[in-house]
């Protein structure tokens, strides 16, 4: 138990922090707070990836870390802040399910994720394998956030945070995907956010609000 090197302890700490940020996002009522948390999540992810890159000699992970930092800590939060300011949507919004209940569901999801990850991480040879459970938990929590939010921007942030979790899973289980794939994924995410930006303006123009409750016309009768 004491054999863990110091940098790995830091990685573990960052992993725990990621999980904590995921929960904080679940409980955050303001959009701006959500964006800030998302930026912090990206930062924790980038730092932990860089540490893993440095200690394992997987130098391509440096690129991923830089990519994460550039996209998810600087570019996207900046874009979201601008969007929120422009559209003036930073109000307190109660989620669909009240927050303590969401938290309890979140804890159950974490337990589920840890159990799911256990057999996989036992097979893994990476030094960071134990964080796989946290990665899966982050994915599930982001998923939960997407379900419980009724506003457009929080849903998108949930989606991106899910991507963060997946990225972390890739780092902890296999030291990341091949670089080409990672670049492709990053490109897709970037284009996705761009498309969504356009889209959010369209929604705003048409509905005069970003509340997705207006968008419940298409249902099975």
């Amino acid at each position: 138990m004491m054999a863990l090197a110091f940098h790995l302890q830091v990685v573990n700490l960052l992993a725990a922090l990621l999980l904590l940020i995921s929960f904080a996002m679940l409980s955050q009522r303001r959009v701006v707070g959500l964006v800030t948390l998302f930026a912090w999540q990206g930062a924790a992810l980038a730092v932990s990836t860089a540490i893993v890159a440095g200690t394992t000699g997987q130098y391509h992970l440096y690129y991923s870390a830089a990519l994460t930092f550039g996209l998810k800590v600087i570019a996207m939060p900046w874009y979201f802040y601008r969007l929120v300011r422009k559209l003036d949507v930073n109000r307190v919004v109660e989620p669909l399910i009240n927050i303590p209940t969401t938290m309890l569901i979140g804890i159950l999801l974490v337990i589920f994720a840890f159990n799911l990850a256990l057999p996989i991480s036992e097979m893994s040879g990476t030094v960071t394998r134990s964080t796989l459970g946290i990665a899966i938990a982050c994915v599930l929590l982001a998923f939960l956030m997407m379900i419980t939010r009724t506003k457009a921007i929080p849903q998108v942030i949930g989606f991106l945070s899910m991507e963060n979790g997946l990225f972390f899973a890739a780092t902890s289980a296999t030291y990341g995907m091949p670089l080409v794939v990672e670049l492709g994924v990053a490109l897709d995410v970037l284009v996705g956010v761009f498309v969504l930006g356009i889209f959010i303006f369209q929604i705003r123009e048409t509905f005069d609000s970003l509340d997705l409750k207006h968008m419940e016309k298409l249902k099975e009768k």
Binding site: M1, M2, L4, F6, Q9, V10, N12, L13, A15, A16, L17, L19, L20, F23, S27, I99, P100, M103, L104, G106, I107, V110, I111, F114, A117, S130, T131, G133, I134
Partner: protein
């Protein structure tokens, strides 16, 4: 053995006697932070002395329970102060209760206080008791979770073992312990009726919790309760220190280390009190219906700490 008993007595007495000083220190810091001229640090002692000299007034309908409760509350707190290691570890009293029983001792005091509050049948007393029970019902499981996390690391629920394990091993980052520490901090705020859960200085009927319960007490009864409150704060602080930053505590029978332990403890308590007052100065009291959320977060953090322990540190 005899040094042990001596030390035990000294530690318990010290805790009980120093407790109002800690209270005074917190109040002083807070006054500074709020830009007021601060009351003297020994102000709580003066208040206690004044109360002890007054004549007690009892309500007509008060049952013996009402009179008995302050002694019970004070005794429970004194016992707790004796169990939690502050100066030296593994004293003769320590085996009396492990962390779970410690939670029970706190609960005992609370039950008596709540019963006494309802005893005289005023609206405020009942209201306060009800709110107190709401808070504790949420805080207790969270507190237990914190203790579980700490005891998972040291494989024991006995306080001396936990403290010894954490104090004497090589430095390692325990994310789980960090989570537990934050959770413990939040629970302490709630349990000690501090901002943001309760405001110890207000008697505003809409918001008060603890003060509503003791509204009917006067003189020596009130003094005992106030003192017990101070001891409780002291015990919680000592407990937090013992669990999360135990460095410097004297091992069993190590008399030579005592001066250092005393200095370390005073420094840590002073820092903790300052941090507490800072927190109270910058944050606002949350509305009562948000308290479950606050404590829910504490519970969540504690559970997360435990889960993370299983995942990362097991």
């Amino acid at each position: 053995m005899s040094t042990g008993i001596l030390l035990q007595a000294a530690q318990t007495l010290l805790a009980i006697l120093l407790a109002p000083l800690l209270m005074g220190w917190v109040n002083q810091c807070r006054a500074w932070l709020q830009g007021r001229s601060a009351p003297s640090i020994v102000q709580p002692y003066r208040a206690l002395r004044k109360l002890f000299h007054k004549d007690a007034v009892l309500a007509h309908d008060a049952s013996p329970l009402f009179r008995f409760a302050p002694y019970m509350v004070f005794a429970s707190m004194a016992l707790a102060a004796g169990i939690v290691p502050t100066l030296a570890n593994d004293l003769p009293f320590s085996p009396a209760a492990d962390v779970i029983a410690l939670v029970g001792i706190f609960a005992l005091a609370r039950v008596f206080l709540a019963l006494a509050a309802m005893d005289i049948g005023t609206a405020f007393g009942t209201l306060g008791a009800r709110r107190e029970m709401l808070v504790s019902f949420l805080a207790e499981p969270a507190l237990l979770m914190v203790f579980f996390t700490a005891s998972l690391i040291s494989q024991s629920t006995a306080l001396p073992v936990i403290v010894a394990t954490l104090a004497h091993k090589a430095f390692a980052i325990h994310p789980s312990l960090a989570f537990a520490a934050v959770a413990f901090w939040m629970i302490s705020l709630a349990e000690n009726a501090r901002i943001p859960v309760d405001n110890p200085t207000t008697h505003l009927e809409l918001t008060m919790i603890h003060e509503a319960m003791v509204l009917e007490y006067s003189a020596r009864h009130l003094a005992l309760i106030e003192w017990a409150t101070a001891v409780k704060l002291f015990t919680y602080s000592a407990l937090g220190i013992a669990l999360f930053v135990p460095w410097g505590i004297a091992a069993q029978g190590d008399v030579a280390a005592l001066p250092l332990a005393l200095a370390a403890m005073v420094a840590k308590l002073a820092a903790g009190g300052a941090a507490l007052s800072l927190l109270e100065a910058v944050s606002a009291k949350v509305r009562l219906f948000r308290v479950p959320e606050f404590l829910g977060t504490a519970f969540l953090l504690a559970v997360l700490g435990m889960l993370i322990h299983f995942l990362l540190e097991a």
